[in-house]
């Protein structure tokens, strides 16, 4: 066994106080401490330093963990990347539509009864439904016409200027990808947390 200098023993003392000294070194250190008053005194100082450092630690506020857990439901929704109010917003929109429909039907019914002497409410409701149906058909027709128009324009472009058409295609693809990435990104800037530690 080689003889070690005090500097090495001091390093071992430091590791021992942290519970990070290997068994072999611990045995050699114990043997040295039996015969070295200076290292025994150093060991005392190591222990006191750790006690002093531990003494300035603060107690965690009572209820801290509960406060964190209470903040999580909101965080969970944000983690899922869904807008918090989206579902309720749809419900409100549907409710508003229903109220408007009923109000329109009631007004039509009241107006009709005043003119014709008692048109039933059901007929008015049917009229509103027919109106909504006609709107849907008209909307679908408009959409179809738009697509047909766009097809015609693209066809013309492909014949007259294929380069422009290809460029336009890339531009549309880029916009779609951009929109998709925006939709997938969580609203909260969790990425700022840099969650992945580097090696």
């Amino acid at each position: 066994m080689t003889t070690l200098d005090h500097a090495t023993y001091r390093e071992w003392l430091d590791l021992e106080a942290d519970g990070a000294l290997g068994a072999d070194e611990a045995g050699r250190l114990a043997a040295h401490l039996g015969e070295c008053a200076g290292c025994r005194a150093e060991r005392e100082r190591d222990v006191r330093l750790r006690e002093a450092l531990a003494a300035v630690r603060v107690e965690v506020r009572p209820g801290f963990a509960d406060a964190v857990m209470a903040a999580l439901p909101e965080a969970a929704r944000e983690r899922a990347g869904r807008p918090v109010a989206s579902r309720s917003a749809w419900r409100w929109a549907a409710a508003l539509l229903a109220v408007l429909g009923l109000a329109s039907a009631a007004l039509l019914g009241a107006g009709g009864s005043a003119l014709a002497g008692g048109a039933p409410l059901l007929e008015s409701l049917a009229a509103v439904a027919a109106l909504l149906g006609a709107s849907l058909v008209a909307g679908a027709g408009l959409l179809g016409a738009s697509w047909a128009g766009a097809g015609l324009v693209l066809g013309e472009l492909l014949i007259l200027s294929p380069g422009t058409a290809v460029g336009l295609g890339f531009a549309v693809l880029f916009l779609v990808l951009l929109a998709a990435s925006l939709v997938r990104r969580p609203r909260h800037a969790a990425a700022a947390a840099r969650p992945r530690p580097r090696r």
């Binding site: 001091r10 430091d14 002093a52 003494a55 603060v58 801290f64 983690r79 990425a191 992945r196």
Partner: protein
């Protein structure tokens, strides 16, 4: 799930067990808060930042890479959050006082648990002396001392967090503590 490892708790949270995250919070709250107190010098702010850090980590949990330790990830997020706050404080100080005086002049805001005016004063004095001694260390030692003695991270965890060889961590901690023993000699006597 008190005996579960951090990684098992993370898996449980991702499977929908939100209470498992509570176990992680309770496991790390004291260590994270104390580490943040060291960095921010303010107990209340440290609690606020610690809460934000836990929420951030929860939000990003599905991106946690199980090859790494949860503790090092948590402390990295905490360190980043504290650095952000310190930067904001400096900006505020500069804009309010047109001064460049940042953290160096900031007083420690620490509570005292000791009873009686004499004991309290002595405790506060000793606490301030310890924090001043740590503040006086070179950056590379101060940071590791804070992680080890306030964050209570193991040598391995510090090595992973700081991307340093284990031997370097041990060496820097040893040197930092030697300096502290010299600086705090009067408080470490009988």
């Amino acid at each position: 799930m008190a005996g579960a490892t951090d990684e098992e708790l993370v898996t449980a949270v991702l499977a929908g067990d939100q209470d498992a995250f509570g176990d992680l919070v309770r496991r790390y709250q004291g260590r994270l808060v104390n580490y943040l107190v060291r960095l921010l010098r303010d107990v209340d702010e440290a609690h606020d930042v610690a809460q934000e850090v836990f929420v951030k980590v929860y939000q990003a949990l599905d991106r946690f890479d199980p090859r790494y330790r949860f503790s090092t990830w948590l402390f990295r997020v905490g360190q980043n959050a504290a650095i952000d706050l310190i930067r904001k404080r400096r900006l505020k100080l500069v804009s309010l006082h047109r001064s460049d005086d940042g953290e160096e002049g900031r007083e420690w805001e620490l509570p005292s648990a000791d009873r009686g005016p004499y004991g309290e004063a002595r405790n506060v004095e000793r606490g301030e002396a310890i924090h001043r001694a740590i503040d006086g260390l070179p950056d590379e030692y101060r940071e590791l001392i804070s992680l080890r003695h306030f964050g209570e991270l193991s040598y391995d965890e510090i090595a992973q967090l700081k991307e340093m060889p284990l031997g370097t961590v041990k060496n820097k901690l040893f040197r930092g503590r030697q300096m502290l023993k010299e600086e705090l000699a009067e408080y470490l006597q009988d």
